[in-house]
Structures are given as C-alpha cells and as structure tokens.
C-alpha cells in the first residue's frame, strides 16, 4: 500500500521561542527551523513499514512556505520516495490543512496516512483527527505501536491511564506519539540522493481549498513570570519553609 506522510516545518525544539515585543506573535526571523519531531517519527514509521514489505511507496507532503522544501528533502533523505509541497506564505490552520490533505488523499489513494500527533508550534493536536473525520476513516491517535494485519491495522495508543489497543479498518489515519520509534538520521549519501527525488510544487488553489483562517490572533504574550525562588542549604530548612507556607502539616 501507499503511505501518505504530512510533515511540518517548525521552530527547532531546542530553541526557546521569543515573543515579539508588539504582541503579534513569536519571533521566527533567523531562528533555526526543523521538521516537527512527531513528524520525524511518522516518516520513520512509514519507512519501517516499507522495509517490512507492508508499504510500497511513501509520499511526503508539506503545506507552507518555499523553505518547507528543506523539510521535505529531509524526509526524502530518510527514505521517503517523493514529495509534494503545497506552497503558501499564509498561516494555514489545522482544518484547512486537513481539507488540503483530504484532496491529496483522494488523488493518491493511500492505504494509511501517518501524521505526528501535534506540531510543537501551535500545539493543536487536531489535524489527524480532522482528516479522519473528513475522509470518513478510522483514527488511531497517539500511537506507540502500529501493526498492519491484512485489511486492518492494530494501533496501541498512549492514553491517560496507560495503553489502549484498537483495531482499525484500512484505509486509516495514524498519529504518532513519542515512543513509537526512534527516527534515523539521514546519511550524507542519502542526503545527496534525496536531491534528485521528485518534488512537486502545488498551491492551495490547485486543490480548490479555501484556507482563510477561522481564528484571529488578537495577542501573543509572554507567560507570567514566576517570582525568583530561594535556595536552601539543608533538608531541615526545606521542611521549615514548606511548613511555613502550609503545604505540608
């Protein structure tokens, strides 16, 4: 089966984001950008399914600015077969992303779409579920284990109390949690090879999707700062302070 893997270019997870002084957003100028960590896990899982002979082709998609090409090349270097860039400089909300992906899924007819469970910039955790809804497919969110068994896929999900396993009819949507796998690094020869793999560039209009945002950001501010704490010299002093505040008896 063919696998579709959407990936997003986001601020690198090691960078501490800085809020712009005018309150319009987070400053992304000259900040290191990378593939969203959950999407790396999605790409890795797709490659492993191909290595097991379950998947035949891996198509990666990114919706975003021209620079999202770099993110797609990274996925190609990891082992994806071809890429689609839906290029736009506008801010595309999860609902619009899901709508574009619905159209791409209709064209590509994948057996499974594997997405990250959330992007570490907007922290929405919506796109996979929305895509499943729009396609009318089953969803296996927060996956820590994925096993394709004939016409179905068994997905072990990380839920609040522990783990839960569901069986989904294919085609289906899977969103990845951190413990699904450890993504591989792209080797230098593979990075070179990835440069010649096919990458198609499209626009949201090609898919006839209205990407006008439904949400307007009125303000982005810094979280309230915690007041500077104290360092104590001993366990006794710590206990004294806890008693004074009254959190322990």
């Amino acid at each position: 089966m063919k696998l579709l893997v959407p990936v997003k270019r986001v601020i690198d997870y090691n960078v501490k984001p800085r809020v712009k002084a005018d309150g319009t957003g987070v400053d992304l100028a000259n900040v290191k950008m990378s593939m969203n960590p959950f999407d790396e896990i999605a790409v890795e899982e797709a490659i492993r399914l191909k290595e097991k002979g379950v998947a035949t082709e891996i198509v990666v998609v990114s919706i975003g600015p021209a620079k999202a090409q770099e993110t797609l090349r990274t996925a190609l270097a990891m082992g994806a077969d071809r890429a689609i860039l839906v290029q736009t400089d506008d801010n595309v909300e999860p609902l619009a992303v899901a709508k574009i992906l619905t159209k791409i899924a209709a064209e590509e007819q994948p057996g499974m779409v594997i997405l990250g469970k959330q992007a570490i910039d907007d922290d929405s955790n919506q796109t996979g579920q929305m895509l499943a809804a729009l396609l009318g497919w089953a969803q296996g969110t927060f996956a820590s284990k994925v096993e394709v068994e004939g016409e179905a896929v068994s997905v072990t999900r990380e839920v609040d109390g522990g783990l839960e396993t569901v069986r989904l009819k294919l085609p289906a949507i899977v969103t990845t949690d951190l413990r699904l796998n450890e993504p591989r690094y792209a080797s230098l020869p593979n990075i070179m090879k990835a440069k010649s793999k096919p990458l198609a560039t499209k626009s949201p209009a090609d898919y006839g999707v209205d990407i006008a945002p439904r949400l307007t950001t009125l303000q982005v501010r810094e979280p309230s700062k915690r007041e500077a704490g104290v360092k104590v010299g001993s366990v006794d002093e710590l206990i004294d302070r806890l008693r004074t505040v009254g959190v322990i008896g």
């Binding site: 987070v26 909300e93 999860p94 609902l95 899901a98 469970k117 570490i120 922290d123 955790n125 919506q126 796109t127 996979g128 579920q129 929305m130 895509l131 499943a132 809804a133 009318g136 497919w137 089953a138 969803q139 969110t141 927060f142 820590s144 999900r157 990380e158 839920v159 609040d160 109390g161 522990g162 783990l163 839960e164 396993t165 569901v166 989904l168 009819k169 951190l178 413990r179 439904r214 949400l215 307007t216 950001t217 009125l218 303000q219 982005v220 501010r221 810094e222 979280p223 915690r226 704490g229 104290v230 360092k231 366990v235 006794d236 710590l238 206990i239 302070r241 806890l242 959190v247 322990i248």
Partner: protein
C-alpha cells in the same frame, strides 16, 4: 449560548476533568452534558446530573459507545450540536481524540487546550510549549473547545438538579473496534488531579532506584508520582507518568522535581504549579529558574533524609 460538554468517565466513575470542563462551559452559558457509554453509562449520567450548574444530561447507552471510540462518539455529538452553540471537552486523551473529529464534521476550527475564556468567541491558550500565550477570536458559528483541566476550578459534584434524557447514538460506524487496554494500577492519587506531585528524572539512574527513592517520599506526602520524559524513555517509569508538553499537564499545590534538569518541554507541563521544589546536584540546572525552593545536592542522600524527617 448552550454548550454541550463531553463527560469523561471510566468504569462507571465520572472523571474530575469533566468538572473543570463544566466550570469553563458555565462561563459561556447553559450547560448540557453528553454521557456516551455502554451499560454503566446510566449511573454516570445520574452522577453527572447532580453536578452543580448542569441542565440537561444527554445519555447515549449503546455497546458501540463502550470505549468512547471517536468514530462512534463524534457523529452522536454532531447530531446533538444542532441544538447547541459550543462543544466543550476536557483536554484529556479522550477529549483530544474526539473533539477535533467533531469540529471537522461541523466545519469549524477547534481551539485546543483553552486556559481562559474572555468572551463567547475569545479564548486564551498556550502555544510553543507554554512559552507564549495566545488570545484568539473565533469567527465560526459554533465553537469547539478542549479545556485544560488545571486552569479551571472543579464544579461541585453535588448541588445540581439536571434531568437525564436518553438519546440514541449513530450506532457502530464499523470503522474501529476496541481490542484491549493495559491500565497502570496505582493506589496513589491521579497525577492530573493530585494536590502534591513528586517527580523523578534521569538522575535517578534506574527503575529500581526510581521506586526506591521516589515512591516512599510520595507516599509520605500522599502525593502522585510523575516523571520527566528522560526518565520515561530510559524505562525508569511508565509512559503515563510523564509530565510535560507531550505528557500530562499538571498544576498541583506542591511539585517536587527530583533529579530533573528542567527542559522546556518538561516545564510546559508543570510550571503553573503553586509551589515548585527542586532537588538537583547541578546548581545551574534550568529547573532552579522556576523553582520556589531549590536544594542543591545529591538526591540519593537528600531524598531519604527528607522522607525520614517529614
């Protein structure tokens, strides 16, 4: 506005996260609840009707709703949304799984992990792992929100006099089925609602030492046990102990971070705790920048001493 709140429940118990969602929904207007489940759901609906401030409780009892599979619950919620202006779910794994499916079927953008409601279309939510706080205004006719439980007080479990009304679900959509669950057994308070949390990090060194040092301290304090991602990845603690951007978001009265350096992903999950205590041997660890009380030293000496003296 009429809001429909998804009730989170398990084995006949109504979960605390629902109570916070009710408080959030009450600030929007009239609160109705949706209890979806199998045979045990009727008892949950009875309990839900007693929550202070609740009007109608919609009870859908069907075998296909037993494990609250999103594929079967979402169409049910959507059918009820004709008579409601907003859908509110707690931002738990269940809520996060179902709500976006409901939102897409209604063709509206969801607002995730809401921490404050400023008006019927204006909401506040953290982005970038809690490093920025965004205020957003929705232009959608109907609102779909997930709300962060720790940001809203719990509505009292008693005092309400809602009415239970049975509704029929959309039946089994035939897309998914529940196979099984491995729920971690714990005698301790639940992490997301605990008043005190003792959390361990990579510095604990092994699963044995994690239990040997963290558990007695937690038990002495009547606390829940948490862990950093590093500790979970190293296998010292189970997945569902993880506190952070990708784990659980907690805001207890006291959070004791033991051997946790304080990466931004971890801080995103606990920096709204009322009082943070850090025990770490590295005095430059980022955790000390958010800790109210810091103790620099060897946890293997300090933690047993603390446990003994409490």
């Amino acid at each position: 506005m009429k809001t429909l709140v998804l009730v989170e429940h398990e084995n006949g118990d109504l979960k605390d996260a629902t109570l916070s969602a009710v408080t959030a929904a009450a600030s929007l207007g009239e609160v109705h609840l949706l209890v979806a489940g199998d045979a045990g759901a009727a008892a949950v609906a009875e309990a839900a009707a007693r929550i202070a401030g609740v009007g109608k409780v919609h009870l859908a009892e069907d075998a296909s709703l037993a494990h609250q599979l999103a594929e079967n619950v979402a169409p049910l919620a959507v059918s009820l949304m004709e008579g409601h202006d907003a859908f509110v779910a707690p931002a738990t794994t269940t809520g996060k799984n179902i709500a976006p499916r409901v939102a897409a079927l209604l063709d509206v953008m969801q607002i995730s992990d809401v921490i404050a409601i400023e008006g019927e279309d204006t909401f506040v939510r953290p982005i970038y792992a809690g490093n920025a706080i965004a205020t957003v205004k929705s232009s959608d006719a109907k609102k779909v929100l997930t709300v962060r439980a720790t940001a809203f007080d719990k509505a009292p479990r008693e005092g309400g006099s809602g009415t239970v009304e049975r509704v029929s679900g959309a039946g089994d959509q035939g897309l998914s089925s529940f196979v099984g669950a491995e729920i971690a057994a714990s005698e301790r308070p639940e992490l997301t609602s605990a008043k005190i949390i003792v959390s361990g990090g990579r510095a604990l060194g092994s699963a044995e030492q994690f239990h040997q040092y963290i558990d007695p301290l937690a038990d002495k304090l009547g606390a829940a046990v948490g862990a950093s991602r590093a500790a979970v990845d190293a296998g010292y603690a189970p997945n569902d102990y993880q506190v952070g951007q990708t784990g659980k978001i907690v805001a207890p009265e006291l959070y004791v971070a033991v051997g946790i350096s304080g990466a931004i992903q971890h801080l995103a999950g606990m920096k709204d705790s009322k009082l943070i205590v850090a025990i770490n041997k590295d005095e430059d660890a980022p955790i000390f920048q958010v800790a109210d009380i810091g103790l620099v030293g060897d946890l293997f000496k300090l933690v047993p001493e603390l446990t003994e003296k409490l």
